[in-house]
């Protein structure tokens, strides 16, 4: 049905019976709007256009200073070394990609002149290459012209293993060649449905060849421009103090008309989220506060009569509880949670189903996330078109108890259910973090009512999320029965996100627990679905494949989604920031302005 509907709409757009905006709106109405919606059209043979701009100022500058508060300040300004989004955000004040994503997930041109499509011939119909046309007359901040050489060089710089760029995954399987001074062609080894990854968004920031050419590979750390970026962006670099402050001034030669609005920009780092919210919402010392992970009660209190407010952007981040499919208590060949074992309790699907019925997502939303959360049954919660409509969740201690009763798990003398001498006792681990500990408490309470004994364990975040092979408490080792956290979904495409749970990615001692499939769930059908989706050029079929993959995760109860989390930012009442759930906060900075 989905398939048909989409196809007929694409046909309508193609024949001019429906305009592009209407198409996107229709997609939204049926829960299908998506960053890659434009890509659907592109492969459907419809030329793409940019989303409408919200920018109002009619001249460059004059907006005064823009004061940003990042409670984790950027520590380095080379986007390809970024150890977190904070570093990408800082670099993005100065560097630019060819295109980025707007709040609706539409592609927005930055350094390119045209969105590639099969119709304008820039996108190969076989999905194996894409051509980008660069804006003419763009200059680096030091006056040198920006050309195709810079784009090609950035690719060479990143794929050099000695550079150890963190963005290498995006670039290593492609080839970038210069067609002429203002044209580059990206070639893929196999059909690539999500072609808008390289040189787009936060990981696509382009470096100036003339400043980095000498510092490719093993000398990458020594480049002076690592600390003093020279980009093409709306603001020119002035000063950088790692973790503390970035300063910039307006770029009078910026390549977009009437932009940027602010004369100076300042990004202050340090402190914590609550006081950042206070400095923006309550006292108005700052214009914008990044990533305000604060309980909604606190925010509502701050917003009363304050000078600012919170805004929300919908992305695909899901806080989930993962189930361990292997036995964390038995050691085989010096390895716990070994693939040679089966989880003594979770090998019974009834237990997994019951557990899912015991996670009260509505209470978690009410008590913890408030406006910043949505309840969901899905692991894959965005972009919208990839979100399955075939699933549902409910909270019911009675149903959970019944399922367990039917499966033979009878309460013992101590009230804890047991079967064949195995007691329903589980260890539930997560990282230390206020909302997570509260969620743990909510889940534990429900489990107790249903006769499941839950032992809570919380690990310091720096240990839990580390790749330290020697530490038994990392999330990847998963020496517990269930664990809860969130893996940020950084792209408006689920390919990378969903591939993590392919059986070839199981985390084991052999791969030093670097594998990304930490539930150690193996499902041939899932593998086949993911493999098929990777090379599927038909956008409609591809959507269906990812929905199927999500449904397989749902059916097997591999993950119990606790909450679909939105991005929360604090902003001054007069500021008009443009925030996308599919991009970094500074990605659309050129469109920000202040309304008096």
């Amino acid at each position: 049905m989905l398939d048909k509907e989409l196809r007929s709409m694409i046909g309508d757009v193609k024949d001019g019976r429906m305009d592009r905006r209407a198409f996107i709106q229709r997609l939204a109405a049926v829960g299908l709007t998506a960053p890659a919606a434009y890509q659907i059209l592109a492969f459907g043979g419809v030329a793409m256009a940019e989303g409408p701009s919200v920018y109002k100022p009619t001249k460059r500058g004059g907006g005064g200073s823009l004061k940003l508060l990042w409670w984790q300040g950027p520590t380095l300004l080379n986007p390809h070394f970024a150890t977190g989004t904070k570093d990408q955000d800082g670099s993005r004040l100065f560097y630019e990609p060819l295109a980025c994503w707007d709040p609706d997930g539409n592609m927005k041109l930055v350094l390119a002149t045209e969105i590639p499509s099969t119709q304008n011939g820039l996108l190969a119909a076989d999905g194996k290459s894409v051509t980008w046309k660069l804006k003419p007359g763009v200059k680096w901040h030091d006056g040198k012209p920006f050309t195709a050489d810079d784009v090609v060089f950035t690719w060479e710089y990143i794929i050099d293993p000695a550079t150890a760029a963190v963005t290498v995954a995006t670039y290593r399987d492609i080839t970038v060649e210069k067609v002429d001074d203002l044209t580059v062609r990206l070639s893929f080894k196999k059909p690539t449905p999500f072609w808008a990854d390289a040189f787009v968004g936060a990981t696509g920031q382009i470096l100036p060849k003339h400043l980095f050419a000498e510092f490719k590979g093993s000398k990458s750390r020594e480049a002076p421009a690592n600390l003093a970026p020279v980009g093409t962006g709306p603001y020119k670099f002035v000063e950088f103090k790692p973790g503390d402050l970035i300063r910039g001034v307006i770029n009078p030669d910026y390549h977009m008309a009437n932009r940027p609005h602010f004369d100076t920009i300042e990004m202050k780092g340090g402190g914590d989220a609550v006081s950042a919210a206070r400095a923006v919402i309550q006292t108005g010392e700052y214009d914008f506060g990044w990533n305000i992970q604060v309980e909604d009660d606190v925010l509502l209190r701050l917003e009363k009569g304050g000078k600012g407010k919170t805004i929300y952007a919908v992305g695909g981040d899901t806080e989930f509880i993962a189930l361990n499919f292997t036995d964390p208590t038995t050691e085989v060949d010096g390895e716990r949670s070994s693939m040679k074992t089966k989880h003594p309790l979770f090998s019974d699907p009834a237990v997994r189903k019951a557990l899912s019925l015991l996670v009260d997502r509505e209470s978690i939303k009410k008590a913890i996330y408030g406006r910043a959360g949505r309840t969901t049954a899905n692991f894959l919660n965005g972009p919208e078109k990839f979100v399955s409509k075939n699933t549902s969740w409910e909270f019911s201690v009675e149903k959970a108890s019944k399922i367990l009763d039917d499966a033979g798990w009878k309460p013992g003398a101590d009230g804890i259910r047991e079967k064949d001498g195995k007691k329903l006792k589980i260890v539930y681990q997560t990282s230390i973090n206020g909302p997570r500990q509260k969620t743990q408490a909510i889940v534990k309470q429900a489990c107790q009512k249903a006769g499941i004994d839950v032992e809570l364990k919380s690990v310091v975040a720096s240990v839990f999320f580390s790749s330290d092979v020697a530490n038994p408490d990392t999330y990847a080792k998963f020496y517990a029965d269930i664990e809860m956290f969130q893996i940020p979904m950084s792209q408006p495409d689920p390919a990378q996100h969903m591939r993590r749970y392919h059986s070839s990615n199981v985390a084991t001692k052999e791969n030093k627990w670097q594998g990304t499939n930490f539930p150690r769930w193996v499902n041939k059908e899932y593998d086949a679905t993911i493999d098929a989706a990777d090379g599927e050029m038909d956008p409609v079929k591809r959507v269906a494949l990812y929905i199927k993959a999500n449904d397989l995760l749902f059916q097997d109860t591999v993950f119990i989604p606790a909450q679909h989390r939105l991005k929360v930012e604090a902003t001054a009442n007069t500021l008009r920031p443009v925030i996308s759930g599919w991009a970094n906060e500074t990605d659309n900075l050129f469109d920000w302005y202040r309304e008096e």
Binding site: T83, G243, S275, R278, S462, S466, S490
Partner: protein
């Protein structure tokens, strides 16, 4: 005397070596690694984190890393931060001015309060003034700086809206406006830290003064007909200040430590906040360097105190 100083200096070297060894081993054994954030990012292949670990020598055995660090230090190379890839000495130098400014001002404020109040309270023990000063001092050092800091913010920034609570190193304006802004934004952190220091110091000055004020030579001075002011300032204070000066010297490193909390609350880009953020991101070279600087400060101020003692009481340096 010079021999004594030399002897003390020579003893300081093995202590520093010992401290650095302990620090290094503890840091190396501590869980977590600087590239942990990369581990959860699906866009970053694990090979990259592994390559970075290998390149930054994190996979070498501890003793090798320590020797490498030691020899680099001996050449004046402090290493570079894994997280910002910037040289550590540069990073510390960038943070030093804010720390010195805030801590220096706080220490000055503490002295300006503690000495007059302590001296005056001692001259009139158990008077009303003494009672009040004592009570306030007790309250002052019972309240931790993280509590008073937040209290100050709520009163002066949020309720009254008089002072900013985010410290910026980058203040617009020049000349007198810049100076005024610098003072304005430092008022709260300096007050929080200074009052805390002043509280304990007042108690100390008072008791040191009381010890001396009862001695016979003071009575003699008074009996000779010297004025009260002259007796207090010239005869009592000078002698009472000897232990106070030592105390201040020994307290300096602790003040740097105490400022960590204050720096975090007011977002002062000082050494303390650098230490905290580096610990959180497992940025070993920076943590190592900052803690080592603290260790050096402790050793240095101990040395100064020892030398001061030796100078004040020559019998100590002869032992």
């Amino acid at each position: 005397m010079s021999q004594y100083v030399l002897r003390r200096l020579l003893i300081a070297i093995p202590s520093l070596l010992g401290i650095s060894l302990v620090l290094f081993v503890v840091l190396a054994l501590a869980p977590g690694d600087p590239f942990s954030e990369l581990a959860t990012n699906p866009n970053v292949p694990p090979e990259v984190a592994a390559a970075l670990r290998a390149r930054f020598g994190l996979d070498d055995p501890i003793y090798l890393r320590y020797l490498h660090w030691l020899s680099a230090m001996a050449h004046g190379d402090w290493g570079f931060s894994f997280v910002s890839r910037m040289n550590v000495d540069q990073l510390i130098l960038q943070r030093l001015p804010a720390t010195l400014y805030v801590i220096g001002s706080a220490q000055l404020l503490a002295l300006l309060i503690a000495i007059p109040v302590g001296v005056y309270a001692a001259t009139k023990p158990y008077s009303l003034f003494d009672q009040i000063a004592n009570t306030l001092a007790f309250v002052g050092f019972s309240l931790p700086t993280f509590f008073t800091g937040i209290l100050f913010i709520l009163i002066f920034s949020v309720t009254l809206d008089w002072l900013p609570f985010v410290y910026t190193t980058d203040i617009k304006g020049t000349g007198i406006r810049w100076v005024l802004e610098m003072i304005r934004q430092a008022i709260m952190p300096v007050a929080v830290l200074g009052l805390f220091q002043a509280a304990s110091m007042t108690r100390f000055v008072r008791s040191a003064m009381l010890d001396v004020i009862r001695l016979d030579y003071v009575t003699t001075a008074r009996a000779k007909g010297l004025g009260q002011a002259k007796v207090i300032v010239k005869h009592v204070m000078r002698n009472a200040m000897i232990p106070v000066v030592t105390l201040i010297a020994l307290q300096m490193p602790a003040v740097f430590g105490g400022a960590i909390v204050t720096e975090q609350i007011f977002r002062i880009p000082g050494i303390g906040s650098l230490l905290i953020s580096s610990i959180l991101s497992n940025d070993t070279p920076v943590v190592m360097a900052v803690t080592f600087v603290f260790a050096c400060l402790v050793v240095l101020f101990n040395l100064i105190a020892d030398v001061l003692y030796g100078w004040l009481d020559p019998r100590i340096s002869l032992r």
